[in-house]
Symmetry: D2
Subunit: 286 residues, 4 copies
Amino acid sequence: MMNRANTATLLLRCPDRKGLVAAVANLLARNGINIIDAQQHTDIDAGLFFHRVMFDMSGMTVSREDFLKQLEAECKTYEMDWKLSFGDRKKRVAIFVSKYEHCIYDLLLRHKVGELNCEIPLIVSNHEDLRYFADVFNIPYYVFPITRDNKREQEQKEIALLREHNIDVIVMARYMQVLSDEMIAEFPNQIINIHHSTLPAFKGAKPYHQAHERGVKLVGATAHYATADLDEGPIIAQGVEDSSHADTVDDLVRKGRDIERVTLANAVRAHLDDKIIVYGHRTIVF
Amino acid sequence: MMNRANTATLLLRCPDRKGLVAAVANLLARNGINIIDAQQHTDIDAGLFFHRVMFDMSGMTVSREDFLKQLEAECKTYEMDWKLSFGDRKKRVAIFVSKYEHCIYDLLLRHKVGELNCEIPLIVSNHEDLRYFADVFNIPYYVFPITRDNKREQEQKEIALLREHNIDVIVMARYMQVLSDEMIAEFPNQIINIHHSTLPAFKGAKPYHQAHERGVKLVGATAHYATADLDEGPIIAQGVEDSSHADTVDDLVRKGRDIERVTLANAVRAHLDDKIIVYGHRTIVF
Amino acid sequence: MMNRANTATLLLRCPDRKGLVAAVANLLARNGINIIDAQQHTDIDAGLFFHRVMFDMSGMTVSREDFLKQLEAECKTYEMDWKLSFGDRKKRVAIFVSKYEHCIYDLLLRHKVGELNCEIPLIVSNHEDLRYFADVFNIPYYVFPITRDNKREQEQKEIALLREHNIDVIVMARYMQVLSDEMIAEFPNQIINIHHSTLPAFKGAKPYHQAHERGVKLVGATAHYATADLDEGPIIAQGVEDSSHADTVDDLVRKGRDIERVTLANAVRAHLDDKIIVYGHRTIVF
Amino acid sequence: MMNRANTATLLLRCPDRKGLVAAVANLLARNGINIIDAQQHTDIDAGLFFHRVMFDMSGMTVSREDFLKQLEAECKTYEMDWKLSFGDRKKRVAIFVSKYEHCIYDLLLRHKVGELNCEIPLIVSNHEDLRYFADVFNIPYYVFPITRDNKREQEQKEIALLREHNIDVIVMARYMQVLSDEMIAEFPNQIINIHHSTLPAFKGAKPYHQAHERGVKLVGATAHYATADLDEGPIIAQGVEDSSHADTVDDLVRKGRDIERVTLANAVRAHLDDKIIVYGHRTIVF
């Protein structure tokens, strides 16, 4: 099988024009690099081109530095926004939790069995409740109790901690605090949240109660990037399940737990595998 | 197999108390009637009991009139709202269409192969376009062109036509006119509409464009009873399908067509089989 | 809300005839018992009637002993096979595991958050690997290493242990040993297994490899009661997810994990809530 | 929007090696051709590379003949199997039917509303029953009654008819005759069949009866290319829906109809849009 450590993934966005795929493919081919996987998308109305290329560098005939220089030159020529991730540098994830267990259980199980290609150097919470579960995996668990008065101060400490540990991604695994705009600005398109209902329906509090009142026949969940505009961040993944009059609010909450953790995990895996390009209020998930 | 003509279906709603199931079961048993199927639901918070009983009258030892008298007496005792439908009296359905074909194709196919237990004595439209398809099945097709000025007058004619033909159910198979409150009041909980999106999200016009703009990862449809409060009628059925950035608006519309017709058909079949009790803004669909 | 401790659930099977629902409903009503929920099913071809009644005994006017005597008499009259479960007596579950984590993580999470109405007095394994996870919840973890030579002997010890702890249900949470016919005979329709593929397709070993070879566009899982005829036990629940050529065997295994744990949990919950009647090679899951 | 008439789609298969994407991209770029969409897949174990490229030729700087020569040369160099389809040459589809309506209704509706990019010059049947529906769309309807004795002879006539009308694709829309190996050999990977159950389960006759007997909780359908080995052709698409003990065989058949027509349509659309590469007993559906 392929050795992931020799791979890299390139994400690109640029004005659409002829020869873009050729330019990238030639850059790789002339340096002895083999394309493993590639996807592309064109937004015809906006005149934009999006590209994801995963490649194997085991036969690369130049140094990484040389390759990067060539890549930069190419991207400048074509006005490309780009991001390159090397397979031997795992992303570092901080999980934020409050008291609900289901999402963190799920993420740590998936990490343990190898589904999530990342390191999890720390867990942050505003409550002590889930420390026992972090302990099972020997992951440091930091508690920052939040009150109306200390919120800004505590967030500053959290940001410092995250910076100290070189955190790339924050996963809000049912973390029940609204992040400040400042926090979100520190990690643009790096904070993944799970909303316990299908957006744009049932925004705000107690969505399962709202769903029950309205007698809906489906319940769902939405994973999205956190933005300053709450519940309006770019949607990454959504899930849904049937419901009926026979479902109590408890049943809806139970179904919600199942959908939330799977949907959140799908979003996190897509992010870790460099499959997402954010684009206006939308995402492309290759 | 069971002969449907000998069956009847009873729908009940009443304050919850002990002995309700026994009262109904005894009424049936003492008259030689066999229960084929039964469902019940209790809304504990509201203190309400809901019951559906389908039974076989082939061994009934009294006349229908006698049985109805006994039923009325029983229902009075327990403050039951009730509705009884006999299997030898098929519901009479009017389909309303405009120009979109997919829902009417679907309904007429299902009717032809025996999925829908009803008669379809007529189709009403505000356009000539789909007459050719009504002709395939020899169903009379009435056209009432609607303008801003003649709407009330045309609706009066429609109501008269529907009354003349003893119509029980109106199915709005992508009929692109908003019905007046008067029309809706004439057929309470008898008009089934399909909304081309999952309510409560994306109410109003062009929901697939809205969905595309928002970059949702699911598209859906909702069948509901028409009420004066547009898009807020009791939901009967919902359907959903995955979508992605690769879907154009046309793709979403195509997926929508598939979901709309199946969801509408599910709602219509539930109504025809007397499986629905409307209850506040909600439905119970047994 | 309803206090579960005052409830009981009755499961019935008998030859179909008139008056069965009335007989049960009268028995309950005359003893001051309120029906909370009820379902029924008739197999017309086989002439069999199936019934599930959940009721609230908080207003019961007789002792449990008296009620049981009356119930026995009634069941004798109508040739009913019956099973009664009291809500104040939780079922006792033993989980069997080997080395895969995903199903046991899932079951213990669900138990912790209150989804599974049972006690879990012990976990049995043929390996030490998952002891760490049982320890999180302080559940005794017994290891019986199985070899070709000691299998019968070890199973005898397991049966003794299960009997000693009054175990009602065995959940094979990816337990990788085939149980002997003797073991299965000890716990008829009380052992729930998860098969990592949709039966009847891809029986036997390595179903995800088989699915990959065949290029299927769906993968799934089946929860069923263990019977002497391996992979042929009555199916309780099934789940499925889309797949494509882009899925490696690892991807199929990952998708399988998600489906397996949800499907197993659905089956276990149905069993614990007394919703299942086994019937030939089939189940009725109310 | 893009004018489909100026597009073409290239499907490729070849031994995996470096520079393949670059070779194709360069060929297109140097002739003024813009890539609209592209997908690729590598089977690492088999050392094979698969590629689909859809491109816009409106700015092509050479003639089609010149371009084809260059393409042939390139494909020879890289040992590529290839197929090129021009957007201004619609595929010509023959639909084969017997007596069931649901699949042909569905296909003709989809064709009418523009979902299927093809011409349908004729319908072939072994029965007169569905002529009325072909007439709605003015599609010639040819009947070849099949008996044990005349089968070979009738198939010869069918093949002649199909050849005469330059048919590219045969869609078996619940055509209830087994095609001869000769017929299949005439149209390799061009005959799409719908099997009314998820393969590999429930092969053979009456799959819904088999499913009912076995008490499965899911029913499905499989669309595949017809091969000499019946029910073993490469799978293109599959669909599935929940079922339960409450479903009669009629209910399963009804659910089957819904799944069959959607699954068949998905397979046909993928074929018409040149999204499928057959590969051993498998398909890649980009």
